[in-house]
Symmetry: C2
C-alpha cells in the first residue's frame, strides 16, 4: 500500500504543489485585524477544497473570532472514526526585510517551498486534506470514517475551538484524533510525538505603596515591589535549578525505562545543542537529568517578563506602586494543574516580604499529555511512517504544550496521534519559513496509509 499511496501522490504532485501555493498566497494572519478578510478567505478556500475532495456536511462555523471549518465523510461502517485537526491561520510575517522572497509569494528553492505558514501549518493541513482527495478520486471512498476540524485562531490562543469542542463534543465524536502540527526530530527521521508538557501560566502582581513614589524622596523607606518580586523569584527556584515549591515534584511520573533508553539513541548531542541552538555560556536546569529529560519529562518554571515601573530609555527615578512577573510552569504527566497552581500560590504568599501584598492571576492551565507507544493508534501511525519513509520512526516528546491535544483527550476521551512532517529548521514564526516538499508528498501518503492501517481489524495484524 505504501508504494500504492506514494504512486498515487506521485501522479498528482503537480496539482498538489499548485494547490499548496494557492493556499500559501492567502495572507491569513490571525493576529492582525487588517487581515480579517484574508483569514475568512482562507477558510472559504479550505471549505472549497473539502467540497472538491468529496467530503460532506461542509460548514464554515462562525465564532466570536475567526471561523472553524468542519467536514466529514462517514461511510465506512465498522471502521473507526478519525478526527483530523490542523490550522489555516499564520503568524505575522515581520521582519519583512529578512525574507529572501516575499512571505506570501510561495517560492520553491531546492526541495523546499518558502512562505509564511508553509510548515506551520498550511502545508500540514493540506496534506491531510489531499490524502482524502486523492483516495476519493482514485477509489471513490475512504478506508475509515473521517471528520475534519480546522481552526483559524491557533496563533492567537485558539479560544473558538476550545469553546466549540467543549460545547459540541457530540459533533466531533470519534475514536482517535490526528493532529498534524509537529516536526521530525531530525531530517529523514520520521517521528511521533507521544508526550506534551502541560502548563500553569500566571501573572504575579506585587503591590507596595499606594502610588508611584520618587526614589530620591522615598528611597530608603518605601517598599519597592521589584525588590519583593526578585526575592520571590529567587525563592521559587534554587540556584541549582530545582523548583522550590513544596509538593511540586510529588506526582511527577517518570518516563518508562524503555522510553528513556530510546531517547539516548536519538541523534542528539548536548554540546551541539548548547553551541548551535541555545548559544549561551552554559546550560541550566536540574542536575542528574539529561537535556531531553529536563525539557520533555521534568516540570520547570520560567519568568517571561516583568511589567511595571519604568522601562523606557534613560533614567527615571520611580519606586513603582506595583510590579508584576509573568511566570509559567511546564507540567509533566500525572501532575494536576490545579494542585500545582495552589502550591504555587501558597509559596508566593510565603515568599512575599511583610511590607507587600501579592496576587496570583492564572492565565492558563493545561494538563500534560502522554501516550503509550504501544497504543494501537500510535502503532498504526508508526507502521504508516515506517512504510512510507522506509525507516523506523522514533517516539519523542515535546516540552511545549498543544492545547488542542489536551482538549481532545479531555473532552472527547480519545487518544490523539501527533503525526507531523515539519523539520527542526523550518523557521516557524521566523522569516524564510519553509516546508520540505518531499515531506509534504510523503506526508499525504503517510496519512492515507495511517487510515488504511486503522481499517484493518486488530485481530488481522
Amino acid at each position: 500500500m505504501s508504494s500504492q499511496a506514494l504512486a498515487l501522490v506521485e501522479k498528482e504532485k503537480a496539482a498538489c504543489l499548485e494547490d499548496l501555493k494557492a493556499f500559501l498566497r492567502i495572507p491569513s494572519v490571525s493576529t492582525l485585524p487588517e487581515h480579517r478578510v484574508d483569514v475568512e478567505r482562507a477558510a472559504d478556500w479550505v471549505a472549497e477544497q473539502l467540497r472538491a475532495a468529496g467530503m460532506e456536511h461542509i460548514e464554515k462555523i462562525a465564532t466570536a473570532g475567526h471561523p472553524l471549518v468542519y467536514a466529514d465523510w462517514l461511510h465506512a461502517p465498522g471502521a473507526p472514526t478519525v478526527l483530523c485537526y490542523a490550522h489555516y491561520d499564520v503568524q505575522p510575517p515581520d521582519p519583512l526585510d529578512e525574507w529572501q522572497t516575499p512571505p506570501f509569494e510561495p517560492t520553491v528553492r531546492g526541495e523546499n517551498i518558502y512562505a509564511r505558514g508553509a510548515a506551520d501549518d498550511k502545508g500540514q493541513l493540506l496534506l491531510q486534506l489531499k490524502a482524502a482527495q486523492l483516495l476519493m478520486k482514485s477509489t471513490g471512498k475512504l478506508p475509515v470514517n473521517v471528520r475534519f476540524i480546522f481552526e483559524g485562531e491557533e496563533e492567537v490562543g485558539g479560544e473558538a475551538i476550545d469553546d466549540f469542542v467543549r460545547r459540541h463534543a457530540e459533533r466531533l465524536q470519534c475514536d482517535v484524533g490526528l493532529v498534524s502540527d509537529t516536526a521530525f526530530f531530525a531530517p529523514e527521521l520520521p517521528s511521533l510525538d507521544i508526550g506534551l508538557r502541560g502548563m500553569v501560566y500566571t501573572e504575579v502582581e506585587v503591590r507596595g505603596a499606594a502610588s508611584d513614589l520618587h526614589s530620591g524622596l522615598y528611597g530608603g523607606a518605601a517598599p519597592n515591589p521589584f525588590e519583593a518580586l526578585a526575592r520571590i523569584i529567587a525563592g521559587l527556584k534554587r540556584a541549582d535549578g530545582v523548583v522550590d515549591i513544596p509538593g511540586f515534584y510529588d506526582d511527577v511520573q517518570a518516563p518508562a525505562p524503555e522510553e528513556k533508553q530510546s531517547w539516548e539513541r536519538l541523534p542528539f548531542s548536548e554540546q551541539d545543542y548548547l553551541k548551535n541552538e541555545v548559544k549561551a555560556a552554559a546550560l541550566t536546569g536540574e542536575s542528574g537529568y539529561s537535556v531531553l529529560e529536563r525539557t520533555w519529562a521534568r516540570p520547570t518554571l520560567e519568568v517571561h517578563g516583568m511589567p511595571g515601573g519604568f522601562t523606557g530609555a534613560g533614567a527615571k527615578t520611580v519606586i513603582p506602586a506595583r510590579a508584576s512577573a509573568k511566570i509559567s510552569m511546564r507540567l509533566v504527566p500525572n501532575q494536576d494543574p490545579g494542585k500545582i497552581r495552589d502550591a504555587f500560590e501558597r509559596r508566593v504568599k510565603e515568599l512575599t516580604p511583610p511590607a507587600f501584598s501579592s496576587q496570583v492571576k492564572v492565565l492558563s492551565l493545561a494538563e500534560a499529555v502522554v501516550l503509550d507507544p504501544r497504543n494501537r493508534f500510535v502503532q498504526a501511525a508508526a507502521r504508516a511512517l515506517s512504510a512510507v519513509f522506509d525507516k523506523e520512526p522514533v517516539f519523542v516528546r515535546s516540552g511545549g504544550s498543544i492545547p488542542i491535544v489536551a482538549l481532545m483527550g479531555k473532552q472527547l476521551h480519545v487518544p490523539v496521534v501527533m503525526m507531523g512532517f515539519g523539520l527542526p529548521d523550518d523557521g516557524l514564526h521566523a522569516p524564510n519559513e519553509k516546508f520540505s516538499l518531499p515531506n509534504y508528498y510523503r506526508g499525504i501518503a503517510s496519512v492515507m496509509r495511517f487510515w488504511e492501517n486503522l481499517a484493518i481489524p486488530e485481530r488481522n495484524l
Copy 2:
C-alpha cells in the same frame, strides 16, 4: 527691610499675578516635540521680562535642545555676585481629565493658583525675576550683582545647561548660587534645603541564550536572564534593607549631632507618613535609623523597572535572550560616585550566575551635596526667611538629587542656597498642580531681602 520689601510687593501684587498667569498660559512642555514652539515662546517671554526689569546682556542661548536664557546686572562693585537659577519648562499635563480646570488656563481658587508648572518651576522662576524687577523699579539698582540662568530642559534631563556650565564657567562667575525649585517642609514652615543625595543610575543587562527561545521547548535547559536578575537584585540588598555591596557604607559621613537633633523637632510622624503618604502595609529600610535619616542621610538602592521579555497582555511563552534592570543608588555626603559605581559593578559580576553574562551601563553619576548651616550665605537666606515669614526657618535635606546644584558646586566652586517656596502638597508632575500665592508674594520679598543681607559686609552683622 522685610516690611519694606513686603510693602513693595503688596503694591505690585496685581501685576505680579497677571504676569504669572501669562507665563503659565504658555504650554512649555519640554518632553513633547509638538510643544517645541511653546518652549521657545516661554524662553522669549522670560527674556522680555528680564529686559523690562532692566537686566542687561540678555541672551537666548541656543543649544542642542531647548534654549537657555541668560541675563545679568553687575553694577554693585564690592558686593557679592549671585547666580540665580530656575527652569521655565514643565511636565506634560496628562491625565487631562483629572484636572479641575485646564492645566494651561491658570485659575485662582482660594489662596492658590492652579496650573501645570505653577510650583515647578514657573512660579519660582518668576519670583526671582520679580525681585529684581521691583527693586529696579523702586530704587533703580540692585544691592548685589546678579546673574540669571534659566533652563528649558529640567524635566528632560538638563543636558544643555550641564554642557553650558562645564564649558562657560567664566560667564557664570559668582560667589553664591540661588536655586528656587524646592518646597517648605510644612505649610508656614520656611525651610532651607542644605543637603541633597547624589546618584549612580545604572542599567544592568543580563544575557543568556543568543536569541529568544520557546519556554516549552527549552525550559529546563536554557538560561533565563530574569531568573539571573532576580538573584542579582536579591543579592544586592539584604532582606533587612542593608545594601549588600562591599564597601558601600565605608565613606558615609553621618550628619552632625545638632542636625540630627533638629530633625527630631520637625513636625513629622512616621505613622502619618506611612498612613498618608506611602500607604503601604509597612515601611522598609535599614533598622536603627529614622525615616528622615534613611531618606536624607543614608545611601540606598532601588530598582525602577525591568525591561525585556514579554510584558503585553496575556500569555506568551518566551525565554528572552536578554533582560535588564534599571537600578539606581542614592549617595550621601563623602561618598564618591565613581567608587560606588566600581563597587556595584564588581558585586553584580560576582552575583551573576555561571550561565550568564552581565553588563552594567551607567546612565548618570552625581555627588551628594551638603552645606554647613553656619555658612554665611545660608545664614543670609535664613535671616531673610525669618524676617519675611516671621518664623525661624528649618534646615532640612532632600533625598532627591538636583543636578544643577551639584554642578554649580563642582564647576563654579560656590555654595548653592536652595531657597524654594513650594508646599508639600503642590502636586508636582500631577494633575491640579498648584502654587501658594502668599508664598509667591513672600518669595519675591524673601529674594529681595536675601540680596540685601548679602550686601551687608560680614563685619557689620
